[in-house]
């Protein structure tokens, strides 16, 4: 008879897998955000400053509003973000300025960042896995 015992702590293992995937997704999303921000067309800077990552391990969304002067105008306008981020328990990367979709539809800055990070995902997952599983 074997004297080897294997204890399978399923719940614990699942939690660690979840934590690892949340960590990996968060790092991927943060990388997408970091690569997108330099490509955001800038006028007042409000849009670029409204980037966020929301995930189970980090809630980066913040409602903001600010009065700023667009380029070429002396009068100030009210700039606002949307009230709340998408309601999901998944990881979200986005720009909260309420006009972000118009800028993205004309001058894509988020999608190209996603494509760029797509090619580097392997390394990010490996790092998160090492941090969680040793």
């Amino acid at each position: 008879m074997s004297d080897i015992t294997v204890n399978w702590f399923e719940n614990d293992f699942n939690l660690r897998v979840d934590a690892a995937s949340d960590q990996a997704l968060y790092e991927i999303a943060a990388q997408i955000l970091a690569e997108a921000i330099p490509n955001v067309p800038r006028d007042t800077g409000f849009l670029a400053n409204s980037g966020y990552v929301n995930s189970p391990i980090n809630e980066g969304f913040q409602h903001q509003s600010s009065k700023r002067s667009p380029r070429g105008s002396k009068s100030k306008r009210l700039y606002e973000t949307v009230d709340k981020p998408p309601q999901t328990d998944q990881t979200v990367v986005g720009f909260a300025a309420n006009y972000a979709i118009y800028v993205e539809s004309r001058t894509p800055f988020l999608y190209p960042a996603m494509l760029s990070v797509q090619g580097k995902i392997g390394g990010t997952i490996e790092e998160a896995g090492r941090a969680n599983f040793g």
Binding site: Y99, I101, Y102, S105, R106, T107, P108, Y111, L115
Partner: protein, 131 residues
């Protein structure tokens, strides 16, 4: 090498259902309706938002944003639905596949009374590059 914008423009212009909706109003490579756009008229404007080649350069994976204009949010959405019916899952010539990435959202063009529905397709083309 394939010119996806020119090819797609022609593909949509020669599609009966699209023509019934927008006539000759299909414009590739633009972010907004062309100069002279009559507010309220129906048309489709699309542009690429970039993409990648396959590792062997045989395939070109691009994403395209389509803005479907109409006189009301509901009609712009109807134009977008016709576009989906005519493009989703289709393949023809160098277009290997077309899959919707995000279905339409009716939006109002900032500052003006123009309605459009914005949707995105991932479209794979045979690149036509020498490999």
């Amino acid at each position: 090498m394939v010119n996806p914008i020119a090819w797609l423009t022609n593909y949509l212009l020669t599609n009966g259902a699209i023509a019934a909706q927008v006539g000759a109003g299909v414009y590739g490579g633009l972010a907004d309706p062309p100069i002279g756009y009559q507010p309220g008229s129906k048309l489709i404007v699309f542009n690429t938002r970039g993409g990648q080649f396959s590792y062997d350069n045989v395939w070109l994976f691009d994403s395209y944003g389509f803005k479907c204009y109409g006189p009301t949010p509901a009609i712009s959405y109807d134009v977008h639905q016709t576009l989906i019916e005519q493009l989703q899952g289709k393949h023809s010539g160098p277009m290997f596949s077309a899959e919707i990435q995000a279905t339409g959202v009716p939006l109002q063009q900032p500052g003006v009374d123009w309605w459009f529905s914005l949707c995105y397709f991932a479209i794979t083309f045979k690149s036509g590059l020498e490999v």
